[in-house]
């Protein structure tokens, strides 16, 4: 009787005779097959290299790649390309493009430094980002000074634009706002607004920083100023509502 009972489990109860173990072994075999099939499918459809853009951002990247090839002397194009790569989280490619841009445009690297700072910001390297935003501002000021001297030598009196000062100021302000360093954020936005005081969105963000600092008069001035440029600006109206809510 004991011999008959034992025969159902088999000698040693090993996987060769245990029906449960056999099923589990089969399942493992099927899983390995599935893994291999998925891998084969991935290789078959060529997942690594999509042939054509599939989203607006991929299309933008594809276009910018071509524009950079056509205008390698334009720093704005390099910065836009790096920015699009950063937005798609292609950080290593963005770093390569920034380096290539620096080599192609010696002496005009401030916009690329802003992108490097933005990348550090998105990667959570706040200290590096702040340092790079300051570096970009200094580079942009030096570039402007040089341009001014060149224009002066030609007899042209003009104040050349320095978009990197604005971008660095706004980027730094946004980061400091995230870090809840309200006074520093307001200071950074102020530097950007010195270059272009009509940026309604930056006025609203500085207004928010003043609101946190309980400097209600300055906050109101910023929100109202933003509304003079965009009368129905929702965020500016929301700022004024917040002031109303605190009785100011």
């Amino acid at each position: 009787m004991a011999r008959q009972a034992d025969s159902s489990i088999g000698a040693g109860g090993g996987p060769a005779t245990d029906p449960v173990a056999r099923v589990m072994g089969l399942a493992a075999f099927v899983l390995v097959g599935t893994v291999l099939a998925v891998l084969a499918y991935a290789l078959w459809v060529g997942v690594v290299l999509p042939k054509t853009p599939r989203t607006a951002l991929e299309m933008q990247l594809s276009t910018l790649e071509q524009v950079v090839a056509q205008n390698p002397r334009d720093p704005k194009v390099w910065a836009q390309y790096a920015d699009a790569l950063i937005q798609t989280k292609q950080y290593s490619k963005a770093a390569t493009v920034i380096e290539q841009g620096r080599k192609a445009l010696p002496g005009q690297t401030s916009l690329l430094t802003v992108e490097e700072a933005y990348m550090a910001h998105l990667r959570g390297l706040n200290g590096d980002a702040l340092r790079l935003y300051d570096k970009a501002t200094a580079q942009a000021q030096a570039e402007r000074k040089k341009k001014l001297e060149e224009l002066k030598a030609k007899g042209i009196i003009s104040a050349p634009e320095a978009p990197a000062i604005i971008s660095a100021g706004v980027g730094k302000g946004d980061l400091l706002l995230e870090m809840r360093r309200w006074a520093d954020a307001a200071g950074a936005y102020s530097k950007a607004l010195e270059e272009d005081p009509r940026m309604s969105d930056v006025l609203v963000r500085r207004g928010d920083a003043y609101l946190e600092l309980k400097d209600y008069a300055k906050a109101r001035a910023d929100f109202e100023s933003a509304l003079t440029f965009i009368p129905d600006y929702k965020d500016a109206r929301a700022g004024l509502e917040k002031l109303k809510a605190v009785g100011k």
């Binding site: 004991a2 159902s8 489990i9 000698a11 090993g14 589990m24 599935t34 042939k51 607006a56």
Partner: protein, 401 residues
């Protein structure tokens, strides 16, 4: 020797069997994890960069994919995608007027075919696909209607009247109805003229550049009277049934429209189609929207979806639209964004299977289903095995006693 094996303690054997099963279960779990990681990696790679989030899309609109062409080169991308038509097999056909061609794409967005016939087709405009899969194209340059087989051969072509230009075509049964600059032509699908009616103008029974036409189940013709900003219903013989949309007002020459008036009115209705619930769906390039009309209520507007913009899920002057009932999605010719967008809107399908497919394709559910199913099977096997072991142990114990 044999007696030694038999005399081995059954509890030892059961324990050894349990250990084997435990090891196998561990291997199974590891393999499932590996499959999951692999699936996650592939989904990550397959997922295009910059896919719009639901928060960034206009309310109600679901974005599936955008098609910009069939390659990275300039000649491989759309020049001016005007109208779309979806075949019975899901192929998305697009007239790319600026490049004098019709491009076909598989439902997954991959390239299928290019139709070029410069002798008979120079400025492809309207397009439709018959139930048999034949592709009917209106050529606005030469004045032809060209019929292609699904494999891209020219089956036949014919001219509408001399000096007239065809704009859009609809096919049902043995009839091909063509809107043209001077009115509406009813042809047999072989190209024999059966009737011609209508004229160009602003009156209710006239048309001015009709960019959209579909034939209803009762053979009613629904026409987008584009420049008159109306949707009109006619019989096949040309009798006017109604003019929509219900409650629409004409934009004043000076000043703007109120939001309420705008919501009831059209700006420039163009390509149209029916959805799975029999609703009339068309695009309005100047509203940058997909608009849904209830034909039973003499053309009242029941939904508006979309907004202007270049990001995915937004439109700039969309001209054409077509519907795929099997996949419950629309292919919109987003003309000025130089792309075709595959989108979905609420309430477009009455097909439960399509709804299920839609839910499954909405996320990585299909990828998780295989390991999940295997895990469930493994758990069921392990559970039943345990129960069997318990019963077996009880029997052994009973036998020993």
């Amino acid at each position: 020797m044999s007696d030694d094996v038999i005399s081995e303690d059954p509890r030892d054997r059961t324990e050894r069997g349990s250990r084997t099963r435990f090891a196998l279960a561990a291997v199974l779990v590891l393999l499932m994890l590996l499959l999951g990681v692999l699936g996650w990696f592939i989904v990550g790679v397959l997922q295009p960069a910059g896919v719009p989030t639901s928060a960034s899309l206009p309310p109600g609109l679901e974005w599936v994919r955008s098609i910009y062409g069939f390659g990275p080169g300039k000649g491989q991308q759309f020049v001016s995608p005007n109208h779309t038509a979806i075949g019975p097999d899901g192929t998305i056909w697009v007239t790319d007027q600026g490049a004098s061609r019709v491009l076909g794409f598989n439902p997954d967005g991959t390239f299928k075919a290019q139709l070029r016939q410069p002798k008979v087709m120079q400025r492809p405009e309207g397009i439709t696909v018959s139930a048999a899969g034949d592709i009917y194209v209106c050529d606005f340059g030469l004045g032809n209607v060209v019929v292609f087989s699904p494999d891209g051969r020219v089956l036949r072509w014919w001219r509408v009247e001399a000096k007239d230009l065809p704009i859009q075509v609809a096919v049902k049964g043995d009839r091909a109805v063509v809107t043209a600059m001077s009115g509406v032509y009813v042809f047999s699908t072989e190209g024999k003229l059966v009737a011609k009616w209508g004229s160009r103008g602003k009156a209710d029974d006239q048309l001015d550049l009709a960019e959209g036409i579909v034939i209803g189940p009762d053979d009613t013709l629904y026409i987008a009277d584009t420049h008159n900003a109306k949707i009109k219903a006619f019989t096949m013989a040309g009798k006017l049934l109604w003019v929509g949309p219900k409650g629409a007002t004409v934009a004043p020459k000076k000043g703007g429209m109120s939001d309420a008036a705008f919501d009831k009115s059209l700006q420039l209705p163009a390509g149209m189609t029916f959805d799975g619930n029999g609703r009339l769906v068309f695009v309005d390039p100047f509203s940058f929207q997909i608009i849904v009309l209830d034909t039973k209520d003499k053309g009242s507007i029941v939904g508006r979806y979309g907004d202007s913009g270049q990001s995915d899920g937004h439109f700039v002057y969309p001209l054409g639209i077509s519907y795929d009932p099997a996949r419950d999605w629309f292919a919109v010719a987003d003309t000025s964004n130089l792309r075709v967008q595959i989108v979905r809107i609420p309430g477009s399908s009455s097909n439960a299977l399509a709804g299920l497919r839609r839910a499954a394709s909405g996320g990585p559910v299909w990828l998780c289903s295989v390991p999940l199913l295997l895990l469930l099977i493994a758990l069921a096997v392990a559970f039943s095995g345990r129960r069997r072991d318990e019963r077996h142990s009880a029997r052994v114990k009973q036998a020993q006693e």
